[in-house]
Subunit: 246 residues, 2 copies
């Protein structure tokens, strides 16, 4: 049985201001919940309809499907919903290839990009403050557990990049060098910009190496790749040399 | 002013069976509508709130925002909605690099893949009959006009691939060759499989060259890339040689 205050608290976590106030976020689905249980994230409470979990009883709340519907953010609730603590926002180490997001607004895009970081072994993801919150339920859902393996921090990009000026800053721009022939180092920042407006002017000024994905069809300047697919192509290019040596 | 029968007809086009019955589909948004007007697709009717279009008066229906809401499939209707004819499903020429989709179910994925074909100059896209319909409103929306430039046909893949056995069939499989070192020809079929189950067994038997995208993070066999991002990485690899020669 769920109390009104439990329902109210969990529902409130769909909003960033309440996530920040309570320092809590929601994970849904059996697979996702299990991945977070196996990670360093701290469990606060776990609501489930059938499955057994190996966690202390004090966290567990067996509820029925009707109650699950009351707290779920999904159209089709999926057997389990867990509330975890949001960890402290610690400034990431910047080493190796580090992805920097400048104003990504779509939760599905951020979720896909987090999965890509996981796949390509990018350990650190730096987000501008106006990038969508990585604990947004849609981002958590779209990232499918990769959120447990990629370290994400929100920073003002300008001071952050200036402070870390020992590493080159790559950015995708229309007038950049062809990524297929550009020399791509193992240590670098790669900046990806907002879905509609690209990289912001102040960050463009810090880019030391402009790159571009050449277009193969008939040239239409208005067309562009979705930011998540562009990110996948560029990360693949950065990694392919080491993949061939394997 | 909209008639009840107009509203009923347009709303019915959200469903594949009515699109097939009427041989009609819907495009929304100013940019999308204009791209379809500039293409070979045949306009049936155009509903708009403000914008001017250079098409014959008989197609034009000026309506107010309230009426637009009644026929739109979008949460936020976008000034223009047009009904176009679905062209005949003609079997595509298979030449160059041809993408083959085996059971892609998510409209967003298909829309993204159509945009990728457009970007990478893939002229022909072959879909299995159980792939989501490319005239589904969500696919039309996600493909952003690329649908006007990519030739899409629905075919039973088994007889189709058997008939076109002069071209090698590439498919992504877990035990495939590293795509970064595999030799990728300019003429080939590239098969991408269903989001959950991959390439179907009967089509796997026709694959002449298995390829795989190597994973860089810690190996977790359950993880996989989204089919649209995997497609973007593989198409990029197929195209990169010709891009360097440019």
């Amino acid at each position: 049985m769920l109390s009104k205050s439990q329902i109210k608290l969990i529902k409130s976590l769909s909003q960033k201001k309440f996530r920040n106030k309570h320092k809590l976020f929601v994970v849904e689905g059996l697979k996702g919940v299990k991945e977070f249980l196996d990670s360093d994230f701290k469990l606060v409470s776990l609501y489930f309809t059938e499955e057994q979990f190996e966690v202390a009883d004090r966290f567990l709340n067996k509820i029925d499907q009707k109650d699950l519907k009351k707290i779920s953010f999904l159209k089709t609730p999926q057997n389990a919903l867990a509330v975890f603590e949001i960890p402290r926002n610690e400034e990431n180490q910047s080493k190796g290839l580090t992805l920097v997001l400048d104003g990504i607004r779509d939760p599905g895009n951020l979720g896909t990009i987090i999965r890509l970081c996981d796949w390509f072994g990018i350990e650190n993801l730096i987000c501008s403050p106006d990038t969508v919150d990585c604990f947004n339920p849609k981002v958590v859902q779209a990232s499918m557990g990769s959120l447990t393996r990629v370290s994400i921090s929100y920073n003002d990009l300008l001071p952050f990049l200036k402070k870390n000026s020992h590493m080159p800053v790559f950015g995708t721009m229309l007038d950049g060098e062809n990524i297929y022939s550009a020399k791509l180092p193992e240590e670098a920042f790669l900046v990806m910009g907002n879905e509609a407006n690209g990289i912001s002017q102040e960050i463009q000024n810090l880019i030391s190496k402009k790159i571009t994905i050449p277009q193969f069809g008939n040239i239409r300047e208005t067309e562009s790749l979705n930011v998540a697919t562009a990110t996948s192509i560029i990360l693949s290019e950065f990694r392919r040399n080491s993949a061939i040596e394997k």
